[in-house]
Every structure is written in structure tokens, then in C-alpha cells.
Amino acid sequence: MARMAGRRILELGAIGCAAGLFSGLFGVGGGAIIVPMLVLRRGYADRRAMGTSLVAIAIMAGAAMLAQGAYGNLHVDDGLLVGVPAVGGVVAGTWLQQRIPVRTVRLLFAGVLVVAAIDLALK
């Protein structure tokens, strides 16, 4: 039992660390690591992996935001301009996710990874 718990924390710690590493490197990439690793390494169902990923992203983005705020790089008005519609969008997106087949959600996710990979390679 203790070994299982240790393994869980170790794996989750490694996944979170890798996700943070890539977002530190590129400013993006948290969810692209967390979701597939929860599915492939931790046996998560897809929707649970995607929901849990949002918790991690909120923490990660919050910490990074505090650091960037200290450097004075935040444009609050512009952030709100894209952020407020994004809040509406995320409510719609989570609603939609419950209503389409999980297989479709997964294919969309894989498609977004491929597009992001091509975008990164062509930079």
C-alpha cells in the first residue's frame, strides 16, 4: 500500500515536473504532457485526465503569473480582453465534452498535438 502511494506521488511528480519544464521552455505545453501521461502512465479515463489537467494548469499559471507580475510584464486590460471570453468558452467546451464520444475527443487531442508539433518545428 505504501509502495503504491509512493509510486503514485513519484509518477505524478515526474509528470508535473516535465509539464512545468516544457511550459518554462516554450511558454506552452502543460496540458500536452499532462493529459497523455495521465492516460498512458496512470490509466486515467480521457475526460478525467483532461479535467485534472485543468487543476494543474490553474496552479502552474497562477504561480507563473505572480512571477511575471513581479517583473511587470502583465498587461491587465489585454489579458481581460482574451481571458473573459475564454471563461465563457471553457464552460461551453466542458459542456460539449460531456456530449461527444470519448474517441472523438481523443482524436481531436491527437490532432491538436500534431498541429502544435508542426508549428513548433517550423518556427
Binding site: 511528480g13 508535473g16 515536473c17 516535465a18 512545468g20 519544464l21 516544457f22 511550459s23 518554462g24 511558454g27 506552452v28 502543460g30 496540458g31 493529459v35 498512458l40 496512470r42 486515467y44 479515463a45 485526465a49 483532461m50 479535467g51 485534472t52 489537467s53 485543468l54 487543476v55 494543474a56 494548469i57 490553474a58 496552479i59 497562477g62 507563473a64 503569473m65 517583473y71 510584464n73 502583465l74 498587461h75 491587465v76 489585454d78 489579458g79 481571458g83 475564454a86 471563461v87 468558452g89 471553457v90 464552460v91 461551453a92 467546451g93 466542458t94 459542456w95 465534452q97 470519448v102 474517441r103 475527443v105 481531436l108 491527437a110 502544435a116 508539433a117 508549428d119 513548433l120 518545428a121
Partner: protein, 121 residues
């Protein structure tokens, strides 16, 4: 300005649907449509991502799709990881890291397509 609002809403839908942060969309929207520098756009995108992810997590929690404890561990471990990432990017040529990460994402995409989801619906 309207374009920025539309892209913001679309990034939110993508975040809710796929559990990603949407930085891939927020950052270009802030540079292209609102004229921010790359550094300021990456910083400002966090201002949009944090509340969006928080609301998304709350909705997913209501749908029964959140393991809060695991999410907390992931998020806490990501913070030192991000600090290391920022340090590395200043030492290793960015191009090598970009291509390596692009390759990794392609491998992951293949793994996701190849395996069957745990719960088919």
C-alpha cells in the same frame, strides 16, 4: 480587437474540450491582434489562462471528472519544473529543444490514437 475576443473564446472552448491551457492560441492573439511583444504576450496569456483553467476545473469537478489530489501534486511539481525550464532555455540552443519537443508530441499523438480509450462512449 474583435479578433482577439473571438480567439480568446475559441481557446476557452479548446481548453474545456481537451484539458489544455490554450497558450498556443492566446500568445499569438496577444502579439498579432493587440500588438504585445513576445515576452509580454507570454506573461499576459497567464492572466487569461489562470481564471479560465480554474473555471474549467470547477465545471469538470461538477461533471465528476477531477482527481483533485492528483491535480494538486501535478501543479506543485510543475513549478520547480518551470523554473528549470527557464534556466535551460538560457543555456541550450532553443532550436534543439523545439525540434525535440515537436518529435515528442508526435510520438505521444501516435500513442493516443493507437490505444483504445478506457471508456468508449
Amino acid at each position: 480587437m474583435i479578433a482577439a475576443v473571438v480567439v480568446g473564446a475559441f481557446a476557452g472552448v479548446l481548453a474545456g474540450l481537451l484539458g489544455v491551457g490554450g497558450g498556443v492560441l492566446f500568445v499569438p492573439a496577444l502579439t498579432v491582434f493587440l500588438g504585445l511583444s513576445q515576452v509580454d504576450a507570454e506573461a499576459t496569456s497567464l492572466l487569461a489562462i489562470m481564471p479560465m483553467a480554474l473555471v474549467g476545473a470547477w465545471r469538470q469537478h461538477r461533471y465528476g471528472n477531477v482527481s483533485g489530489g492528483d491535480g494538486g501534486i501535478l501543479g506543485a511539481a510543475a513549478v520547480p519544473g518551470a523554473i528549470a525550464g527557464v534556466a535551460i532555455v538560457n543555456v541550450v540552443p532553443e532550436r534543439i529543444v523545439q525540434v525535440a519537443f515537436a518529435g515528442l508530441m508526435l510520438v505521444i499523438a501516435w500513442q493516443m490514437v493507437r490505444r483504445r480509450p478506457r471508456e468508449e462512449m
